[in-house]
Symmetry: C2
Subunit: 625 residues, 2 copies
């Protein structure tokens, strides 16, 4: 049985395998935020001919079903099929958008003052040939040759000894060694015949609860070659870390949860390697940043003690591990550096983020906020670093939102609504003519604008008769942000409630943290905002929404995904890795949930911008206008 | 389809699987020196009922075939079978014989003056329970606890982190850590809940070209718990190292050759663990001694450069490796220590042997001979150590000999022939009533006695009419050493030729080595003889045979298998491991094959005792009597 794609390509299929699986086997990966449960509606394909048994129809309209739409994760071919895969369903890499990001990242690295000194190095050696007069073993010859390069203590893994004899002789005793400096010795990663000093790459990965982002970095110049991102397939074991821990510990699913994220990383790596025609042997190192639970799952560590008092993770610092022992499909001896965690709910992603912000080096008191599925906040400067956590949920990453998507090409990232016509004007990442969905920054813009134009009230309820764009959809009232050729992009009332709950949690977290430490908003000189919202976050609109405190706008700085930025920086510099480790040692953790006023603050934040309008004086002024 | 054993046990079988394979799957392993090629005739079983398709009949007499004998490696069941497995066909372990050997080994270790300081150690820890006031990670708690025991630098492999959380809590924070001190750090091998300081075992292995011997050692007191031995299954890729290297390099069989020896080790381990009801987790360490080619095959290293000028092995020294990366079926993180080699044809088995002999510590000039498939000779003392190699072939280990067997229970190890009646009197290892075959020391005795009683002439030819025990067998003339109930034990004329070739090579090797270094037999104050001959080697008879030089008898000392003895010693003591490493550094290698007189010496040695009777004055005297 075959599936024919619009490109004409034929792929093998069977009645027992979903369309999603058949495509995956051929290296065509679809986006999916429910990881194949049939609930997110993101892996839509259109069956043009042939018949498929479609077991789930969630998020498909009657009209779409009529036009042949099925969810690839729940559709089984019953005959040869011809299918069309809409662009929004395909998992892609960033390409030219990455090139732009690379400029900023390279500038940030240059500004750090650190030298290009990656985790790993490559050394070219010309060894003297073996002879009866110089007949030491191949390994002894290699070590003797490396002595001259200061690599005097060297461990060669047995896997590499296997072909050492042939490798040394292949290019007449010229070899390139890739190695990593661990503890007191250099561990050899790979041995290549001839001069293979370039190309060589590093990989930096942010393992988010909802989203995974992977940078492919040229280690010879620090350039970001490309970026891949995908939803974390662990979502099928729950949206939040607690539900996943329950699955791991009470349902014996730890191995499957681990496999899900490893498989996602392998998919991203294979997309990048294919797109850039790179060989797995050119990847010399991996740097990982993730929250404590994501990190434990990445290593398949039993997470049960994280969830119960006294909330103990297996480890907060991790020695260098190797891809082979983790199941990552590149050279098995590639070293994996993992950002240290601080406490059970403040992890390597925050350490990485603080490093990227630079707040730990400055005297001024700053607030760092990383708005992911879990919202983490750090207050501090070069002397103090206190972290706290509050749960925001995955909505800003597009998960659980009808037309939500990650901030990748095709996402609406900016929305303005005309005060008179109530017609929205949108900006799409990559300037795509047809938007595919809406990302976090677009949602914040849209809701703020809808509030300002009266399309929603302070509780986020849509006003039925204000515009023909407010209509009744499958999930109740919805607002059409964009009329599309194939489908419209909307924000539904449940979507808006989702966002309000998230922003309330974040604002409450900041308030309580400051309060507990005896500070007020006035003491803060800088606010760094991190998160996968898109390239820009409109601070003004985030304040109107009540997600950010009403402070002078120039104090805010939006940094994007700082977890992966920190991982990028550490990929390139030993000095910055050491700085990250010091951040983890210095940072202390404050548990917010024990504060009695947290729930009050949260409930007050469910209004736009806030129940207590006095804390939003500038919004009050704007509203009067 | 079933096979029923005489014990009544039924095992599953099929038409596609040999009887040998079916038995192996149930943990019943048969002896085989051809590793299933159907040529050695050692895996004989008797089909009592049912029918089997027998593809090879080598070494089975017509009478035996009539009685139902088949070679298990070439016989396929065609119906349900009932079979009887003769005792000589079963691979067994030594049991009480090991207990006797253990006394000698423990005495040798005590005499070395070294302390009991195995490669690995176990440490019992009672950690303070985690609490909100003391909420460091599990790993940090473990490391803090170990600091007090001087294990301040500690690597815990990721595999063990997986269950660390549960392990620490299972016995209320009491744990036992097994670890190895490598380079500057301690590598954790295993973590057990509760007090598991004993039992704990080490394994010492001699990987011979023909024979593998494995000691299971109690690391708490140095006792040898038991011993297993088997033929090296690599024999199916050739009897000698060169043929196996050709198979590995030219026929792409390296992986299979490696798998053969690893599988043999796994079989021996499973027999020992079953017999002593030990758990794989109680085995903390493995020490390996083998010749350079055996060591390369053990690690699956490409051996091609060993065979060609300038004869370079991949490595002579090996860092600690771990069972998991080698395929040995115990706890995958068990460390494997490997004896260093000296040159392409002088390996860790000889370094280990010299260590066991102690010759390297004494001023007197000694000769060390290890008579295995390859015969190695070392001349030296506390200042000089020169090694040479000569090929003896596998006959002394029973391979290639009609009724040859290793020196294990049931082997004839001592033969005396009555000068008048020409009736032999035998001694059997373990005092078994029915001998199963004849081992190296028995062969030397028998041939020497046969020569002295005129049963064979100086060329080793049997004298037809001298005794009714000289008869015509399947392979020509043979001498019946023992009339058995089921089968007779004989030495055939080809067997005798085999032994003469081997002894000639050894004697020639010694002569040339001494000559090249400007010494004579008179300069030698001690001769240490190593090899798997049996418990005793009759020096007198070995001199009569012309295998050993005609020197005062008190200068000789028979040491048995010194390769495994050295591995035993190093299993127990860091000091002795360091001593072994120094031996490898000190020892130099002399290539004998380049000597022009080697072939002359070899040919002269094909007579009993030698063509030049003047070099055997005491034998001359004896013969005159």
């Amino acid at each position: 049985m075959d599936i024919t794609l619009t490109s004409g390509k034929k792929i093998p299929a069977s009645e027992e395998m979903t369309i999603l699986e058949s495509l995956g086997r051929e290296g065509i990966f679809l986006t999916s935020s429910c990881a194949g449960k049939g609930t997110c509606g993101k892996c839509r394909v259109i069956v043009k001919s042939g018949s498929a048994d479609s077991k789930a129809k969630t998020k498909l309209s009657h009209e779409e079903i009529g036009r042949g739409y099925v969810l690839a994760c729940k559709a089984f071919p019953q005959s040869d099929l011809t299918i069309d895969i809409p662009k929004e369903s395909v998992l892609t890499i960033e390409g030219k958008i990455a090139t732009e990001k690379s400029k900023d990242l390279q500038a940030l690295f240059a500004a750090s003052g650190a030298e290009l000194d990656p985790l790993t190095e490559r050394t070219l050696l010309q060894l003297p040939p073996a002879s009866l007069d110089d007949n030491i073993s191949d390994l002894a010859r290699l070590k003797r040759g490396l002595d001259a390069h200061g690599l005097s203590c060297l461990n060669v893994p047995f896997r590499l000894l296997k072909n050492l004899s042939a490798t040394l002789r292949k290019e007449r005793w010229e070899v390139t060694i890739s190695s990593i400096h661990t503890e007191d010795c250099h561990e050899v990663i790979n041995i290549f015949p001839g001069d293979k000093q370039a190309p060589r790459y590093g990989v930096a990965v942010d393992i988010g609860t909802t989203t995974l982002v992977l940078y492919l970095i040229d280690l010879t110049d620090g350039k970001v070659v490309d970026i891949a991102s995908t939803y974390n397939s662990q979502i099928r074991f729950g949206d939040d870390v607690i539900t996943r821990i329950v699955h791991a510990t009470e349902h014996g699913e730890l191995a499957n949860i681990n496999e899900a994220v490893i498989n996602d990383i392998n998919i991203m790596l294979s997309l990048l390697m294919k797109a850039h025609a790179t060989d797995p042997d050119t990847i010399d190192q991996v740097v990982i940043a993730g929250n404590p639970t994501m990190t434990q799952f990445f290593f398949s560590l039993d997470p049960s003690s994280i969830r119960e008092e006294p909330y103990i993770p297996t480890a907060n610092t991790f020695p260098i591990s190797f891809t082979g022992e983790l199941g990552i499909n590149i050279n098995p001896n590639t070293p994996v550096y993992t950002f240290p965690s601080v406490a059970s709910y403040v992890g390597g992603d925050i350490v990485s983020g603080v490093l990227a912000s630079g707040m730990h080096t400055r005297k001024e008191l700053s607030l760092f906020m990383d708005i992911g599925t879990n919202g983490e906040i750090v207050l501090g400067n070069s002397e103090l670093l206190v972290a706290a956590a509050c749960s925001a949920g995955p909505c800003f990453e597009g998960s659980g939102m009808k037309h939500g998507m990650r901030a990748t090409e095709g996402a609406i990232e900016d929305v303005q609504i005309n005060r008179n016509t109530l017609e929205p004007e949108i900006k799409v990442i990559g300037d795509a003519p047809q938007p595919l969905g809406i990302c976090g920054s677009g949602m914040i813009d849209a809701i703020s604008e809808m509030f300002f134009t009266g399309i929603i009230d302070q509780k986020g309820k849509l006003q039925k008769d204000i515009s023909k764009r407010v209509r009744v959809g499958e999930d109740g009232l919805e607002f059409v942000i964009h009329y599309g050729k194939d489908r419209d992009i909307v924000l539904t009332e449940p979507d808006i409630e989702n966002i309000l709950r998230a922003k309330a949690a974040i604002y409450a977290g900041i308030s309580i943290l400051l309060n507990e430490l005896g500070f007020s908003f006035d003491n803060i000189q800088k606010v760094y905002i991190a998160g996968g919202f898109g390239k820009f976050l409109d601070i003004e609109k985030a304040i109107i929404l009540g997600m950010l405190p009403d402070m002078p706008r120039e104090k805010f700085k939006f940094l994007g995904n700082t977890s992966v930025t920190g991982a990028y920086l550490c990929s390139l510099s030993r000095k910055l890795r050491e700085e990250g480790e010091k951040i983890a040692e210095r940072m202390t953790y404050l548990e917010l949930s024990v504060s009695r006023s947290f729930m009050d603050e949260y409930v007050s934040g469910l209004f736009i911008p806030h129940t207590n309008m006095d804390s939003f004086p500038s919004v009050k002024v704007l509203m009067k206008k």
